[in-house]
Point group: C2
Chain length 104, copies 2
């Protein structure tokens, strides 16, 4: 099992339309990826590590797939449409991405 | 439900003893936090967002709690012991931390 994490840095003035992201964007991702996306989660950043610190990321999503190849096969053909679904008006467009193996 | 994510940047030469982290460190965290830690997951970074990119984070853990207050009450009294359990020999000691609300 692998997890693709897309993490949106909490830069000054970053807007993030959580409502849209959770209710429209991620369901679109799931619909296009089909069974290649086993499940996904969405996070809303609320705080940093120390009391009073701002959240490192304003939002994150995590997409679970059987393998990197399965992710690429499911996401690749729809990448253009999926990326076009979000704009800098609603979601910061320079996220960090990271692929991880779930080890426990 | 909130999630506390601790993310270890994949800096040049960063060592990360995944075996120790998964089998010793995180079980210690769970044992000390008790019921305040509802569950946790551990990730091993394998790649970045684009083909050929290195992982953004060499390792991550995510601790699920009922609330920030529950996390603080469970973790705070044991923070010194938990932090002392990892050293720069095994785990990079400057992680990013972020607290998120799980929104779906």
């Amino acid at each position: 099992m692998i997890k693709v994490s897309v993490m949106y840095p909490n830069t000054a003035g970053a807007r993030f339309d959580h409502e849209y992201y959770r209710n429209k964007h991620m369901p679109l991702v799931k619909a296009r990826m089909g069974d290649a996306c086993k499940s996904y989660t969405v996070d809303k950043g609320i705080a940093g590590g120390a009391p009073g610190d701002p959240a490192t990321y304003v939002g994150m999503c995590h997409i679970f797939c059987d393998s990197i190849e399965a992710f690429q096969a499911g996401f690749g053909p729809h990448a253009k449409e999926i990326m076009a679904d979000i704009t800098s008006q609603t979601i910061p467009t320079s996220p960090r991405s990271s692929r991880s193996a779930k080890s426990s």
